[in-house]
């Protein structure tokens, strides 16, 4: 009997229609699931130096053993593939989402999918328990996300879960998403375009099976404990201590089994609509991630929330009621990564400020939401200037290098400094992490395939508590730092002893992406903090890092400790590194590409690091990792992790 996993990974070749089955259990013990198993599959199936749009590029869709169970926030799906967005060259990376798609895939009997090849005509994949079929999608091709979802549901039933692409993915926009519901999406990595290149419009799933649990009563206890520890969410606690603003009692769960109700940044408001062309307002893509505004439908409405917009007026000048909500929803429908609003608008505004009024024949009017509405459409359909911008900002800048002033080139490079991914929790662009937080993030940026902050929110959000009262925070954190990261200095606002902390964050990220759980709620480094007073008064603030291992053990029946889980995470991390090294020529030189960004001063405390000092830090990081000074894991390390064949 298999517990947790359902035992089967579907291997589908769209070119031939051939279906094979892989046994999950071959990988389960060494890699758990999600990003772990995906890394192993990628090592086996991703050809060297392959482009994202090469038919041989596999799109790997994975769940983990906890997906589909009541483990809090576990309803996640992990996508891995070669990303067209990565700059300067596509390489293998990951992108995860919440929702109900992964659980349904498991109920249908699959832990994951590997999709290779390319269909001649548009198709969608229909999985109804063990019935797997490729159906024609000619009539769906060109449809917006909402329409695809509705059409497939009206054909197969309202209980079907769907992951699909919009026009942006079809037209190979490098930052197009795979959308689900559409509150959830696999966003940044541009995997929508990978689906588009394969002519795969959607994956629709329905399952009637379940996920068997090895020790139900122990598992329920572990879940209860995890819920009790996380119900307020670490960020919620942190921010509430800082701000104590009124928050709505509940907002819809963005993923199956989410008990966290993190509520952060959500503000209920009533406001008139600004853009007349917008579709009726619906649910938000960003789910609990990002800065989301919800609009109250009516005082009588049950659950009563209607809409949202990404709230970043300090960056893009729009409140949701000034058109931000409509632009948000347009991104949802076209299947564009919402964050393109955050990079494109400030960049175009600077263009205007520097006196550039036209680009490629288009008059620039970036403060007008109606103008932006048109621009997003042009990008998704690759019309006019949209054809250039669809290549993402970094490639656009390269394209216009001769006509742009230096400042705009620098701004574009800063906005998407991380291999073409938007700046995120780097302390420089829109997030304001002070030392030591931005430095911990910087080391992760340098050594990973993409923006790493996406899986380490619960740690990076502690910056809020630090800023609230530095002395208090450091006093409370020093014992934890000494215990977990080798030195009290790890948590100090300094440049010393940060490598262990960065490595720890990276491993916790892999654990969450493998079992899987949401990084807004876990790991529970700190106890839940009720209010400011209990934060000040508490003598011990240490949370519980065994939660993940206990959930996993009770669910699967394997006896896995936290230490073993971190070891498995190290194996996955190292294997991901070897994929980049061996198949995509990653080395120290590439790692150092992010260094110039951290020469810019931090927005909060003005600190920065020179390229030379950053390089020294990286050397220390490599030593701690057991990598060579060229940034390549050495054979001894591979042997120690049991992956010496991956050299």
């Amino acid at each position: 009997m298999i517990y947790g996993w359902v035992g089967d990974i579907l291997f589908l070749d769209l070119s031939t229609g051939k279906i094979q089955h892989l046994n999950t259990m071959k990988y389960a013990k060494d890699y758990i699931g999600g990003r772990g198993i995906a890394a192993r599959l990628a090592w086996d199936y991703v050809p060297q130096n392959i482009d994202a749009f090469d038919p041989r590029n596999p799109l790997i869709v994975m769940t983990g053993p906890l997906t589909g169970t009541l483990a809090p926030t576990s309803g996640r799906t992990i996508f891995c593939s070669v990303s067209p967005r990565v700059y300067p060259r596509p390489w293998y990376t990951h992108s995860t989402m919440g929702g109900f798609f992964g659980p349904e895939l498991k109920y249908a009997g699959f832990d994951g999918l590997i999709i290779v090849g390319q269909s001649k005509e548009p198709v969608y994949l229909w999985i109804d328990d063990n019935e797997v079929r490729l159906l024609p999608a000619v009539d769906l091709w060109g449809s917006l996300i909402t329409d695809v979802t509705n059409k497939i549901r009206s054909k197969h039933g309202a209980d079907v879960q769907i992951a699909c692409i919009g026009p942006a993915g079809e037209n190979l926009v490098r930052y197009s998403v795979i959308s689900h519901t559409p509150e959830n999406a696999s966003g940044h990595s541009g995997f929508g375009a990978v689906m588009g290149s394969k002519k795969l419009k959607a994956i629709a799933v329905r399952g009637s099976g379940g996920v068997k649990i090895a020790d139900p009563s122990k598992f329920i206890k572990a879940c209860r404990h995890a819920m009790d520890m996380s119900h307020t969410g670490p960020i919620d606690s942190a921010v509430r201590v800082k701000l104590e603003y009124p928050i709505p009692a509940t907002v819809p769960a963005c993923t199956q089994s989410c008990s966290v109700n993190c509520r952060i940044h959500r503000v209920v408001f009533d406001a008139p609509r600004k853009i007349s062309k917008g579709e009726p307002i619906r649910a938000c893509q960003a789910g609990c991630v990002g800065t989301v505004w919800l609009r109250k439908k009516s005082p009588q409405a049950q659950g009563g929330y209607e809409a949202c917009g990404i709230r970043a007026p300090e960056i893009n000048g729009w409140e949701p009621d000034e058109g931000g909500a409509e632009l948000h929803l347009l991104c949802d429908d076209l299947g564009l990564d919402l964050w393109c609003l955050l990079t494109l608008q400030p960049w175009f505004i600077r263009c205007r400020e520097l006196g550039i009024e036209n680009l490629e024949g288009l008059k620039l009017n970036p403060r007008d939401p109606e103008w932006f509405y048109e621009l997003l459409n042009m990008i998704a359909y690759r019309k006019g200037i949209g054809h250039v911008l669809a290549e993402d900002l970094r490639r656009t800048i390269d394209n216009w290098r001769k006509i742009l002033p230096d400042e705009l080139i620098k701004l574009g490079e800063a906005l998407e400094f991380a291999y073409g991914f938007p700046a995120h929790r780097d302390g420089r662009i829109w997030d304001t992490e002070p030392l030591p937080f931005w430095l911990v993030a910087a080391l992760m940026y340098a050594t990973e395939s993409r923006d790493p902050a996406i899986g380490t929110h619960s740690f990076l959000h502690l910056a809020e508590l630090f800023l609230e009262n530095k002395k208090l925070f450091l006093n409370k954190m020093r014992p934890i730092a000494a215990k977990l990261w080798g030195s009290e200095k790890a948590i100090e606002p300094s440049f010393e002893e940060k490598t262990q902390l960065s490595i720890w964050c990276q491993h916790r990220h892999i654990i969450l992406d493998s079992i899987p759980l949401c990084d807004f709620a876990f790991p529970r480094l700190l106890k839940p903090i009720k209010d400011r007073e209990s934060w000040i008064m508490s003598s011990s603030i240490y949370g519980d890092l065994d939660i993940e291992a206990n959930l996993l053990s009770a669910c699967t029946g394997l006896k896995i400790s936290n230490i073993e889980l971190e070891k498995i995470a190290e194996r996955t991390f190292t294997l991901e590194r070897m994929i980049l090294v061996k198949k995509f020529n990653r080395d120290r030189k590439v790692d150092e590409m992010v260094a110039p960004h951290f020469q810019l001063p931090c927005k909060t405390d003005g600190t920065n690091i020179s390229i030379t000092d950053f390089s020294k830090l990286l050397e220390k990081y490599y030593i701690d990792r057991g990598w060579s000074q060229a940034g390549i894991p050495n054979v001894r390390k591979l042997k120690q992790l049991g992956i010496e064949e991956c050299k």
Partner: protein, 151 residues
């Protein structure tokens, strides 16, 4: 079998749809407690999820004082559980005829009383009478959308 004594309900799970966030934890714990696996389709409580409009509606047996399901059963298989007052289906006596499910006025979408696909008997909420902690769904609901109430 005719019912001679009046049915005495003690408890029921009261649903507050406005508090529900649609996370589905209730469905998953219900199916673990009754089936040993997480499977929403085997859960005795079901959340209708209209995610487009953010409307969520859990539906579960209300343990009626004057239940229509009990007299509808030709085999007298629906009995009163003494500790909780839950109406429970005796699987030994149930012959899967479905008259109880038809008789229930709240079961229009077939999620409150339904036929178990592999066991071929009807199943419904039994208030987890076998658990000391009471109904599991009530225990884990993160927003108190489910509350155990006394009739």
């Amino acid at each position: 079998m005719a019912i001679t004594k009046p049915i005495v309900s003690k408890y029921f799970v009261k649903v507050y749809p406005s508090r529900c966030r649609g996370c589905g934890i209730c469905e998953l714990i219900c199916s673990i407690c009754h089936e040993g696996e997480s499977n929403p389709k085997l859960s005795r409580i079901t959340v209708e999820k209209d995610r487009e409009n953010y409307l969520f509606k859990p539906s579960v047996c209300m343990q009626c004082v004057k239940p229509k399901c009990v007299p509808a059963c030709p085999n007298g298989a629906i009995k009163l559980e003494k500790k909780t007052g839950a109406k429970i289906i005796d699987t030994e006596l149930c012959d899967n005829c479905g008259l109880c499910a038809e008789a229930c006025p709240f079961n229009s979408n077939g999620t409150i009383i339904f036929s178990h696909p592999s066991q071929k008997v009807y199943v419904k909420c039994d208030l987890c009478f076998f658990r000391d902690e009471g109904p599991a769904c009530v225990e884990v609901c993160p927003t108190q959308a489910l509350v155990l109430k006394k009739l």
